[in-house]
């Protein structure tokens, strides 16, 4: 298995990372170098290892969620809030979206 420039661009898109094109070749080399060392795992016989093997050092409790111990109400952590919602900066695409909604209506 070998990482290609297209693979790097693809995983960068999946990761929401904007990459400069001149960074791609060095990342291809770095990832291939690292993954080359991982090939040793392909030789290991894992047929007898159940993937659901109990993980004794990772105890779990019931998935019951306690309240987060915040010092102040959630609204005080945001620059602005209204009617229990956070107010967020307007993106330029909002204007176009609103115009389209108005036009459709």
């Amino acid at each position: 298995m070998s990482v290609t420039p297209d693979d790097v661009r693809h995983v960068a898109r999946l990761s929401r990372l904007g990459l400069e094109e001149d960074r791609v070749p060095s990342l291809v080399a770095e990832l291939n170098g690292i993954l080359g060392h991982m090939d040793v795992l392909q030789q290991v016989d894992i047929s007898a290892v159940p993937l659901t093997a109990p993980y004794h050092a990772a105890p779990l409790r019931d998935d019951a969620l306690p309240a987060d111990p915040l010092l102040r109400t959630r609204e005080t952590f945001a620059p602005a809030a209204r009617d229990g919602f956070f107010l967020v900066p307007r993106l330029t695409t909002h204007g176009a979206l609103e115009a389209k909604v108005a036009e459709d209506a």
Binding site: R16, V49, L51
Partner: protein, 459 residues
């Protein structure tokens, strides 16, 4: 005696050392922020004791940046459980320490705020990723500091700086408020100038926490070792010497310091037994699949919308991409891409699924060794002493710094490093590993070894 020394080291002492070592072009750069008003409580086991905290643990009164531009200036609205416990025990939290960005690194050269220097030799790295906390203790600013571990980030810098570092059993200390890197491997750890001081810090922060679903609801025994007056306090203890941690390629000077420590353990009454952990050589490949895979998911939350840095952008997709590419450094970017790749369709089975299976093999081998009557394992902490700043540039070569430490994280068992000697003036660390939740035995053996090695450990 050591606890008396700890209590004698007051906040004013910490600031005088801090002012001497932190600033200037050759300063340690060990701290990212400080709280000059911190005094601690008058009562509690750490009353008035100055303590430093790694910058990936949430604090109320200082920023929590994780050594990253993406969280520059971020102040958490809540505090980590480990920090709260220190504060309730009377400690004065005097500062947040520098670290490799999002705890990704083995040298502390990956911080967005510049590298940390090793107090023993300022041309060398302190180790990573908790290098700032290690340097804070080794320089004498504080005698206890919190760090965190994903693959050895407390023990390796402890070894490089000549101090004590403990990684507890996974679940022994709450991860609530620890910024996540790789959730199945992350631990809050403790640095101390001595075994007693590190143990005292661990005693304070250990215990069940309802805010961490992986926190163990297990009784915490007395962890601060009491050796009494016996000359052979380790009689009856069986210490395993795993042959895979003493390969022919190991620096003979590192091997010699560790052999000397093993001989001291025998003199203290312990039996040393040769054992084998054959999957050890697979640990680094397994770690560098699982940790980046988990990191690629955990770091998805840094999108410019929720908190931290936000790049100006005309649309949401560009906002995400520009924020993340501007905010993350080179090592974090590399690991996110690596993690996304090994989890992506077509490669998941070949990499991630296989790595999880081999992780189970590694865990099984430890379980079998401890079930065979071996109480502890003893190994070198790192294959080398601290290297020079900028000396290691190949990513995989850097990853090999953690070759003797990552297994404990993969298996979830407790482990610690303590000084066992020096090579050309640079510290060498010896590592104990124990069965899950048996930190007490590990600390008792370490305290006994520290007592007999004494000044020898620093030569």
């Amino acid at each position: 005696m050591t606890i008396d020394a700890l209590r004698a080291h007051r906040v004013s002492d910490a600031w005088s050392v801090f002012d001497a070592v932190q600033a200037g072009p050759d300063g340690l750069n060990a701290f990212l922020s400080t709280d000059r008003t911190a005094v601690g409580n008058a009562t509690g086991s750490l009353a008035g004791v100055p303590v430093a905290v790694k910058d990936n643990l949430a604090t109320l009164h200082m920023p929590t940046t994780c050594g990253s531009k993406i969280l520059d200036g971020y102040i958490s609205p809540f505090e980590a459980t480990a920090v709260r416990k220190l504060r309730e025990a009377g400690a004065a939290i005097i500062g947040k320490t520098n670290m490799d960005e999002f705890a990704m690194g083995s040298s502390n050269e990956n911080s967005a705020y510049g590298p940390v220097r090793n107090p023993v030799d300022r041309t060398r790295v302190p180790g990573g990723s908790s290098g700032g906390s290690a340097a804070a203790v080794a320089s004498g600013v504080v005698r206890i500091a919190l760090g965190s571990e994903t693959g050895g980030s407390v023990r390796q810098p402890a070894a490089f700086c000549g101090i004590v570092g403990i990684k507890p059993t996974y679940g022994r200390v709450s991860r609530y408020g620890l910024v996540a890197y790789a959730s199945s491997l992350d631990n809050v750890g403790v640095f101390g100038a001595t075994v007693h001081e590190a143990a005292l810090g661990l005693q304070v922060i250990a215990g069940h926490d309802r805010f961490d679903s992986t926190s163990a609801n297990t009784l915490v025994p007395s962890l601060v070792p009491d050796l009494g007056t016996s000359d052979r306090p380790l009689t009856g203890l069986v210490v395993g010497k795993p042959r895979e941690y003493f390969p022919a390629s190991l620096d003979p000077r590192v091997a010699e310091r560790c052999e000397r420590a093993l001989a001291s353990l025998v003199a203290l009454g312990a039996e040393v037994r040769d054992v084998s952990l054959p999957s050890t050589e697979l640990a680094i490949p397994v770690y560098y699949i699982i940790a980046p895979a988990e990191a690629s998911s955990n770091l998805a939350r840094y999108d410019g919308v929720r908190y931290g840095h936000r790049a100006p952008a005309a649309d949401l997709g560009t906002l995400y991409e520009q924020t993340r590419s501007q905010g993350f450094g080179a090592e974090v970017t590399r690991r996110i891409l690596l993690g996304t790749y090994v989890l992506s369709a077509g490669y998941y089975d070949a990499y991630y699924k296989r790595a999880q299976a081999v992780r189970s093999l590694i865990t099984q081998e430890f379980t079998q060794v401890f079930a065979s009557g071996v109480h502890l394992l003893f190994t070198p902490t790192a294959p080398t002493t601290a290297f020079r700043l900028g000396e290691v540039s190949d990513p995989y070569e850097m990853y090999l710094s953690d070759i003797f430490t990552v297994t404990a994280n993969l298996a979830g068992i407790p482990a610690m490093s303590l000084p066992v000697g020096r090579i050309d003036g640079l510290p060498v660390g010896g590592q104990f590993m124990a069965a899950p939740f048996d930190e007490a035995t590990m600390l008792r053996a370490a305290a006994a070894l520290e007592r007999v090695l004494g000044a020898e450990a620093h030569q």
